[in-house]
Symmetry: C2
Subunit: 109 residues, 2 copies
DNA sequence: AACAAGTACTAAACATTGCAAGGTACCTAT
DNA sequence: ATAGGTACCTTGCAATGTTTAGTACTTGTT
């Protein structure tokens, strides 16, 4: 998968997956990778960034399957940011699709 | 518009707009900016890159409205690359939309 | 007990690419 | 001549995903 496509959109994906329940990093890597592969080295710096920017708070929980998991919980600011990002994504992807249509369909203006 | 969303996707937009007819840089800036704003400083380096990579050949044509225009014409390699990029874009954007749905709809797995 | 494999997190160096800012130059109209 | 629109180019910067390497915990196997 084209690496560059993911730039910025990963932020949206990570945030949106924590809307309904708190998640930990490793879980997010696997969840997102069901749709398109991402590396662990991408997620952890991103999570740190989003936490530093006030979109997440974190807490540790022990696990029976390995070392403790660091859970990420959305803040109000994070929820607001998601809405902005989703709207921007819709505008953007619609724009791209329009250009593709314009470029591949019979007539153009 | 989120800058990061554009990473990589601009390549697709530029290529696809030259499928049906050759275009010049300034024209591409305006055409793409109808959907989402992009800067001239983005397009010209991108066009040089794509030409260097063998996706475009170029030629100059005089204009009555200003200095000569450098037209970009797709090569066979460029046409092949577009098909790949469009497929990747479809897979990617579908994946993102699925994650958004999964994150915003009632139940999830 | 030793080892491998899966889980889980972290860090540093790197590559790619879009933007801002600045510049050159042509043409038309005032 | 001066301004504004057209058209191109370059440099330095910022943002972010990948690669690679490493730490450490748990469970199952030999």
């Amino acid at each position: 998968m084209n690496v560059q496509f993911k730039k910025g959109v990963l932020t949206l994906c990570v945030l949106v997956l924590t809307l309904k329940k708190d998640r930990y990093g490793y879980e997010l890597v696997n969840k997102i990778s069901e749709q398109f592969l991402i590396a662990e080295g991408t997620i952890y710096p991103l999570l740190r960034r989003l936490t530093k920017d006030g979109y997440f708070t974190t807490y540790l929980l022990e696990s029976q399957e390995g070392p403790p998991r660091k859970y990420y919980q959305l803040t109000e600011s994070g929820k607001t940011y998601i809405e902005v990002l989703i709207k921007e994504w819709e505008l953007f992807s619609t724009g791209v699709n329009r250009l593709i249509e314009e470029g591949t369909k019979s007539d153009e203006g």
